[in-house]
């Protein structure tokens, strides 16, 4: 091949000259491969671990919670004749007020009052729904000991040996005032591990359960878990309808296997989604890097490429050499990333390992990581080949004559930036004019700065959205100062009494009673579906609707997104809802669809009074009068109603979304670091490339008497302007596309159309400032002239 040696020298020199960009390409591919590997590990392991835990614990396929007595004979008869039932059990659960459970030990003295969880004492089950220790053994608690959920160990910093004291209303004959139990360990609960599960189970020996029950006396409530393992888990929908139609006990929420799976892997799913998003962006950035580096290199090597073409080197040969070297870099990056991935995934999987145990899919996770890394290399290779088409456009004659193919394509500086007009000063004029002169060159860093600020802002906005009080309107509930949840287990008159109390309370400005009852409806596909419909004055504490509007007439119905999907109903569709066990059916029209993450994401709302007698729960919402302290009012109602869940909006959001908020905060910190690293790397890369390409120009300016600082200022001005435009574009994208993306990612939980709420101080001031500082420092460092860089040597070149 003619000129083979020159060819190799050319490409080798090109890489050597742009050593910084080679390093950056390797770094980006490594980072992308590492994140892809970690995301793969997270998805594969988290789903694997969830399923493995649920298999080991033999989680029920269908769970009906019920407060009140259960007719076991009737239940047994139902199970006996229903071929879908493989195993069943009715398990009592003693729910105790969180304030009554105190945990103390070295450095620990707390109660469970603040957790907003329902805390229930249980004993180990005999055949399924096992509570496991961290070695996945079925726990058999010794008398006098208690096993607490791992959730509390992590949240409250508890340790084995701590003492749990359950305090009752007072000592009477045969009733001790307190029961003391020693914490023997921490348990994995396949049903209630997650912070999204609103209940937690505390495991004790049968005798201790009896002792606790005697202590708490009437302040404790017995709730029954009616659990079924099915012969065909896929038929759980059919089973649900059969259960309802049999008229069996159903005074509480129903949870199925798929919902347990969802709740267990929700946090990891959100983290994985964010990691995947960042990976995709990193791959995009790596591609932009490749393109930018190659185009600049080709521009610089015009003359040599022209010579090689003139002596007969084929474009194919040139392409092969460039491709080979860039692929080698990409492979090096991918190997590095694959090697580093376990470090990241280990920390991401720490919670999965702790709460769910081994997934048994480590090998698969590794394999998927490798496949993804190989995919990244392939994408880089394709991008190199595509970019190298620019080689075909190098004309040997033009390249030899002018040394540049771009000689005739200089854009004129706009008049308002003209140096002779003197409006902006020479440095500012020169700095800005170049942006307009070479828009193609600056488009790449602009896109990357935009992506970097997007990466920075989206998780931040998600975090501030999820933690904002208004977020509750995405959870199917209106914003109010006070919220009282009354489960159906409580005295049915309580709701009415509290309604009256709130009406007479001078500190309460307005309030609303919302009652949720059970109905059935027929879905579009003919199957029967359960509906939990909330009825009351929906207008007082309105929620946000993704489509349509709030029901305002008695024949109107609103559905949560997941409920609408299950029914196959859209706005405008008629839905007939039937009260279970007979009663007046209601013919309603769907007028609105909203996001809801509570109660499995399946809820409905109407203003018509209930015709169903199966009330499931009631919710009271209230706003205090101006000047009153909402916290004090919440505190007063909480004290007066220790058996009910009384909370402020913040408490409610924290209790429901606390886990997600934690994950999002971590994700925000990681994205901040990733975004800043991207911005710094790109600034360094871009300015090195630009300075190399502009070396003759820089030498001329220096010879004319421009100080280095003034020349650096010109480059800094361009970079900062690009960054500012990028930040604005990134913020706009984050608030538009970001919300859509977040909605897509979270649609699995029942959230759609998420309007991101930005924390203005963070999103518009702190983040841009940090980004600007990073870019400015990097720009300063990377435009510093080398000690050996002389004007005359550059000019000779």
């Amino acid at each position: 091949m003619p000129g083979a040696r020159e060819l190799r020298t050319l490409t080798r020199n090109a890489l050597r000259r742009s050593g910084v960009s080679a390093v950056i390409l390797v770094a980006f591919v490594a980072l992308a491969a590492m994140l892809a590997g970690a995301a793969a590990a997270l998805v594969v392991s988290a789903t694997g671990a969830t399923e493995a835990l649920m298999q080991r614990a033999r989680t029920p396929h269908y769970l009906q919670m019920h407060t009140g007595p259960v007719d076991r004979d009737r239940m047994a008869a139902f199970a006996e004749q229903n071929p879908l039932v493989a195993q069943w059990a009715v398990v009592p659960m003693l729910t105790v007020d969180g304030a009554a459970v105190r945990i103390s030990g070295p450095g620990v003295d707390t109660t469970l009052a603040d957790s907003l969880q329902d805390n229930s004492f249980v004993t180990q089950n005999a055949e399924f729904d096992f509570l496991l220790d961290t070695d996945d053994r079925v726990i058999q608690p010794a008398p006098g000991t208690v096993w607490l959920p791992l959730f509390y160990r992590e949240e409250l910093g508890l340790a084995t040996g701590n003492v749990v004291t359950v305090t009752g209303p007072g000592a009477t004959a045969g009733t001790p005032a307190q029961t003391r139990l020693v914490v023997a360990g921490f348990l994995r609960d396949s049903q209630m591990n997650s912070s999204y599960a609103s209940s937690k189970r505390l495991l004790v020996a049968p005798d201790d359960l009896a002792a606790v029950q005697r202590t708490v006396a009437e302040t404790g409530t017995i709730e029954q878990l009616i659990q079924f393992r099915l012969t065909d888990p896929a038929a759980v929908g059919t089973f649900e309808v059969q259960y309802r139609e049999a008229g069996l006990e159903a005074g509480g929420p129903t949870i199925t296997w798929s919902l347990f799976t969802l709740v267990n892997s929700l946090s990891e799913g959100i983290t994985a989604a964010i990691v995947i998003l960042v990976t995709v962006l990193l791959v995009a950035i790596a591609l932009l890097c490749v393109r930018f580096t190659l185009l600049t290199t080709i521009e610089q090597d015009q003359r040599q490429i022209g010579v090689l073409k003139a002596v007969g080197v084929r474009g194919r040969d040139l392409r092969r050499l460039y491709t080979g070297r860039y692929l080698a870099l990409a492979v090096a990056g991918a190997l590095l990333g694959v090697a580093l991935a376990p470090l990241l995934s280990r920390s991401l999987l720490a919670r999965v390992d702790l709460f769910m145990g081994p997934s048994g899919r480590g090998g698969w996770a590794l394999l998927v990581g490798w496949v993804l890394a190989a995919g990244i290399v392939a994408v880089v290779g394709l991008s190199v080949r595509r970019t190298l088409r620019a080689l075909d456009r190098v004309s040997p004659v033009e390249a030899l004559r002018s040394g540049t193919a771009a000689a005739g394509r200089v854009r004129r500086t706009p008049r308002w930036l003209s140096v002779s007009r003197g409006r902006l000063g020479a440095n500012l004029s020169l700095g800005l004019a170049d942006l307009g002169r070479r828009p193609g060159m600056y488009a790449v860093p602009l896109v990357i700065f935009t992506l970097a600020s997007f990466i920075l802002i989206v998780p931040q906005n998600l975090y501030s959205t999820v933690t904002a009080p208004g977020f509750i309107t995405h959870m199917g509930a209106g914003v109010s100062d006070l919220r009282i949840d009354i489960r159906q287990t409580a005295d049915p008159r309580r709701a009415g009494e509290l309604d009256a109390a709130l009406a007479g309370d001078p500190q309460v400005a307005r309030h609303s009673l919302l009652v949720t009852a059970d109905y059935a409806a027929t879905a579009a596909d003919g199957t029967d579906v359960r509906l939990k419909i909330e009825s009351g004055d929906l207008a007082m504490f309105p929620i946000r609707y993704a489509t349509g509007q709030q029901p305002s007439a008695p024949d109107q119905l609103a559905l949560s997104t997941m409920q609408a999907q299950q029914l196959g109903a859209r706005v405008g569709d008629p839905v007939v809802v039937r009260p279970p066990g007979g009663g007046q059916p209601l013919a309603l029209t769907v007028v609105g669809i909203y996001s809801d993450v509570t109660n499995g994401g399946r809820t409905a709302k109407m203003v018509a009074p209930h015709t169903s007698t199966q009330v499931m729960w009631s919710t009271l919402l209230a706003d205090v009068v101006p000047g009153a302290d909402p916290a004090a009012v919440v505190g007063a109602y909480a004290a007066a109603n220790p058996d009910l869940r009384v909370s402020s909006v913040d408490d409610y959001v924290q209790a429901t979304m606390g886990g997600t908020a934690q994950v999002l905060r971590d994700a925000s910190v990681i994205s901040l670091l990733v975004g800043l690293a991207i911005a710094a790397l790109i600034t360094a890369l871009f300015l090195r490339l630009l300075l190399t390409a502009d070396s003759a120009r820089v030498a001329t300016l220096r010879a004319l008497g421009f100080r280095d600082g003034q020349i650096r200022a010109q480059y800094a001005i361009r970079t900062v302007v690009l960054l500012l435009v990028g930040v604005v574009l990134g913020a706009v994208l984050a608030n538009t596309v970001g919300g859509l993306l977040a909605g897509l990612l979270l649609s699995g939980v029942g959230l759609t159309r998420l309007d991101l709420i930005a924390n203005p101080l963070l999103a518009w001031l702190a983040t841009p400032a940090v980004l600007l500082l990073t870019v400015a420092v990097t720009a300063y460092a990377s435009t510093r002239p080398g000690a050996d860089q002389s004007i005359t040597a550059t000019m000779k070149e």
Partner: protein, 264 residues
């Protein structure tokens, strides 16, 4: 070495006669090495105010290096360079940059105008940097220079839109825009055809007659013949100096003879 050739009577008034004895540039004992190779071995050179000195020598003799050292574009390893009474060798890079803008003008072999600025903007560039006068005054001054250089109508053209000779004349205007104490030329006609080269030299000589001090490195006997004095370098040292006088044809012959004698 350092032998002064027979000074002939010059028709042009000599610089000393015009400006008195004060030298514009005094360089003594300049040494410069690149790596282990010493290029300049202790050169002394004094240029009077208003003088036009041409520097000649074979390739590798150190002409351009000497010019770069005199202009502060390169640092000397030893010796002293005083320009307008200011010692350049001890200055920082920024101070040197400031002195280049204030005291010196440059005309390079390749026209080094910025490709994205019009000829006018290129000429006013350093004046705009230091905000000398108002924008209108700077523009008027530049236009006057361009008129003298015969390129007034090209003020809004881009460098890529004019010929090499026109470009180099714009380069001369840029060098003179701030009325420098000295203008350095590094083969200013090296890339031009003979008529364009003559036009550029006519322009430089015209400004020299008005008092601008010129130091020009050249290979071209016709260019050197227009100077007051020619300094010949060989192997990094001054081999010969020639004071020029008489008719243009004689002067060229004198330069060619001296070139032969020195072995250029």
């Amino acid at each position: 070495m350092d032998k002064l050739s027979t000074a002939e009577r010059t028709e042009q008034p000599g610089p000393a006669e015009r400006t008195g004895p004060a030298p514009a540039l005094v360089a003594t004992g300049i040494r410069k090495a690149y790596g282990d190779t010493e290029i300049l071995h202790g050169i002394d050179l004094t240029v009077a105010e208003g003088e036009f000195v041409a520097v000649m020598g074979p390739s590798g003799s150190g002409k351009s290096t000497l010019l770069h050292c005199l202009a502060g574009l390169d640092r000397v390893d030893a010796g002293s360079v005083r320009l307008a009474g200011i010692e350049l060798t001890g200055l920082s890079a920024d101070e040197l940059a400031d002195r280049r803008r204030e005291l010196m003008g440059f005309v390079f072999q390749q026209p080094t105008l910025l490709r994205d600025l019009t000829l006018l903007d290129n000429i006013v560039l350093t004046g705009a940097l230091d905000r000398i006068g108002t924008p209108a005054e700077r523009t008027a001054h530049a236009e006057a220079l361009m008129a003298r250089a015969g390129i007034a109508e090209l003020r809004d053209r881009m460098p890529g839109e004019v010929s090499g000779g026109q470009l180099q004349r714009a380069g001369v205007c840029r060098a003179l825009q701030r009325d420098p104490r000295i203008v350095y030329g590094d083969e200013p006609t090296g890339a031009l055809n003979s008529s364009a080269a003559r036009e550029v030299m006519d322009l430089l000589v015209e400004f020299n007659r008005d008092g601008t001090t010129l130091v020009v490195v050249t290979h071209d006997a016709a260019v050197a013949a227009r100077a007051h004095r020619v300094v010949f370098l060989r192997d990094g040292a001054v081999a010969e100096e020639l004071l020029l006088g008489g008719q243009p044809a004689e002067r060229v012959t004198d330069v060619v003879d001296a070139m032969r004698a020195v072995g250029v």
